[in-house]
């Protein structure tokens, strides 16, 4: 364990920082890819294999593609933008430190934080599937409904244009 987690954490943290501070949106998107991959590797070191690969499949394979399409289809987004930092710098850094400190203290104070990692792998696929279908089926169906509504909305928006042109 000793060297792996600090290394992965540094890479992820550096990529996230780069995604925030780089001027060109494309570079930010690619830095975000590295951050997501770092997260996926973290899941893999925790033996959550399914979660790790699904992280890559969904985030890198779909979300980043969406961001990339937006960048390609929008004009003037490819140009470097001005820095989004808040002036004076003390306000920005201070707010960030406050939020991070609050999150860490809540995490440490919660009773689940000090659970020892068990030997065998956590969340094998079969148990995940059974839990989804048995205990959390309402949430699953709700998400399915949400996705269907989004899909229908997307199709409607895409096909609305010819009617507008005609009228």
């Amino acid at each position: 364990m000793g060297l792996t987690f600090p290394l992965i954490a540094t890479v992820t943290w550096g990529a996230a920082l780069a995604a925030m501070t780089l001027r060109r949106p494309v570079h930010s998107a690619l830095a975000l890819v590295v951050a997501f991959l770092g997260l996926a590797v973290t899941y893999l070191t925790l033996d959550a294999q399914f979660l790790g690969v699904v992280q890559v499949l969904v985030y890198v394979g779909a979300v980043i593609i969406l961001i990339v399409f937006v960048i390609q289809l929008t004009r003037n987004v490819g140009l470097p933008s001005e820095s989004l930092a808040v002036r004076p710098a003390v306000v920005g850094v201070g707010t960030a430190a406050l939020v991070t400190g609050g999150l860490i203290s809540c995490l440490v104070a919660s009773p689940r934080f000090h659970i020892e990692r068990s030997g065998e792998g956590t969340a094998p696929v079969k148990e995940l599937g059974e839990a989804l279908m048995a205990n959390y089926v309402v949430a699953l169906e709700g998400i399915g409904l949400l996705l269907t509504v989004a899909l229908i909305g997307g199709v409607l928006i895409a096909t609305r244009r010819p009617a507008k042109k005609g009228s």
């Binding site: 399914f50 690969v53 079969k126």
Partner: protein, 387 residues
């Protein structure tokens, strides 16, 4: 391999050495296969098109891949002056590295899988998803509107065909009950009547799923008839436009490696992986079966390339969304029917199961093809002046 690893001291060094040996074996085998495939493709395409392929370099042109490699290595490496240098340089690497990683979960032979992951199937598709980022990076980093257009079309095509690809692989995972590729191959053990292997392709849902997977795989690898992103007569080379020399060769390598990987997955899912088709042929080594089947797939892809014209962008997208996606959903339904009709016990039940499931698939296929492309042959033409 085990005796070689055993030469090194115990502990982390041994693990490291075994990893390096496995990785080197995979890269060596499949890169060698890449060289052979370029030769097969050029000679095969030539013969399919009534001409000879290259036959000057070595007997029957065997050394042509070597000549191609030397040419690619010695070409000048040009980066456009206004291109985004980092993105432009990293794109070929991002194109090749994940695809090679995807080989780690393919069972090449009995006990010959580099990484027996529990969610191996999903890992495979995750690596395929990273390949699309490389296409975008190549198109964007080149600072060229044709490259950008090509990469946009390429990404659109790849994400559209990812759904039929993943869902037809999902059907197999549902049938077997596990996402691990080793389990999927093991589930295809046994023989019908003692002779014919129990491959998934010999079931109605397996046959449909195999054909759908094959079409989606052709589209994912940007292979004719779906090679619009790199169509030479339309957009010259699409996202690979501004690449010369070795970087272009790397893209090429990535594309062919992707082809092998997805063919290997088709073999694992539907054609029984390293299993022999007939019980009396089971003495042939397992990896020989795997690579034999892979060669058949390569020949099939070359044959398709020599036969079919390219599909237009809108025809391609329509085909994916209006035909393939409903068909894979019907395939899942047919799997469910097959699974629950396994409990039928009356005589000739096997035949009636096939008739029912195959009938549903056939009806869906005919209905969807009529819906998608209602095509009437033109009536007999009458020429007014030419008689």
């Amino acid at each position: 391999m085990h005796w070689f690893v055993g030469l090194f001291p115990e502990g982390p060094i041994q693990t490291g050495v075994s990893m390096v040996v496995a990785a080197a074996a995979i890269v060596g085998a499949f890169a060698g296969l890449f060289a052979v495939t370029t030769w097969i493709e050029r000679k095969g395409l030539g013969r399919l098109q009534n001409r000879m392929g290259p036959n000057r370099v070595g007997p029957w042109g065997w050394l042509q891949p070597m000549a191609d490699g030397i040419k690619a290595l010695t070409k000048e490496d040009i980066i456009p002056a206004q291109a985004d240098k980092l993105v432009h340089t990293l794109a070929p690497i991002v194109a090749v590295a994940p695809v090679i990683m995807a080989y780690a979960v393919l069972p090449v032979g009995r006990n010959m899988v580099a990484l027996d992951m529990e969610a191996g199937l999903v890992f495979f598709f995750a690596m395929g998803g990273i390949k699309e980022i490389a296409v975008f990076m190549a198109g964007w980093g080149s600072r060229n509107k044709y490259a950008l257009l090509g990469s946009m079309r390429g990404i659109a095509q790849m994400i559209s065909y990812e759904i039929p690809l993943v869902v037809s692989a999902l059907v197999v995972a549902m049938a077997v009950g596990s996402l691990s590729l080793v389990d999927i191959v093991n589930a295809q053990a046994g023989y019908y009547g003692g002779i014919l292997a129990k491959w998934h392709v010999f079931t109605p849902w397996g046959l449909g799923g195999f054909l759908l997977f094959l079409v989606a795989a052709t589209a994912e690898s940007n292979r004719t008839p779906f090679d619009l992103p790199e169509g030479e007569s339309e957009i010259i080379a699409g996202h690979m436009l501004e690449y010369t020399g070795f970087k272009y060769a790397l893209f090429f390598l990535g594309e062919y490696m992707g082809l092998f990987a997805v063919s290997g997955l088709a073999i694992t899912l539907y054609l029984g992986g390293w299993r022999a088709p007939f019980s009396f042929l089971a003495w042939i080594p397992s990896w020989l079966w795997f690579f034999g089947k892979l060669f058949c797939f390569i020949a099939l892809f070359v044959w398709l390339r020599g036969t079919l014209p390219r599909m237009r962008a809108d025809q391609l997208m329509e085909f994916a969304w209006k035909f393939m996606v409903p068909m894979v959903v019907v395939n899942i339904v047919v799997l469910a029917m097959w699974h629950y009709s396994a409990a039928w016990r009356f005589p000739t039940a096997g035949l009636w199961r096939w008739v029912l499931c195959g009938g549903v698939l056939l009806a869906a296929y005919l209905g969807l093809s009529k819906l998608w492309r209602p095509w009437e042959p033109p009536s007999r033409r009458v020429y007014r002046y030419a008689e």
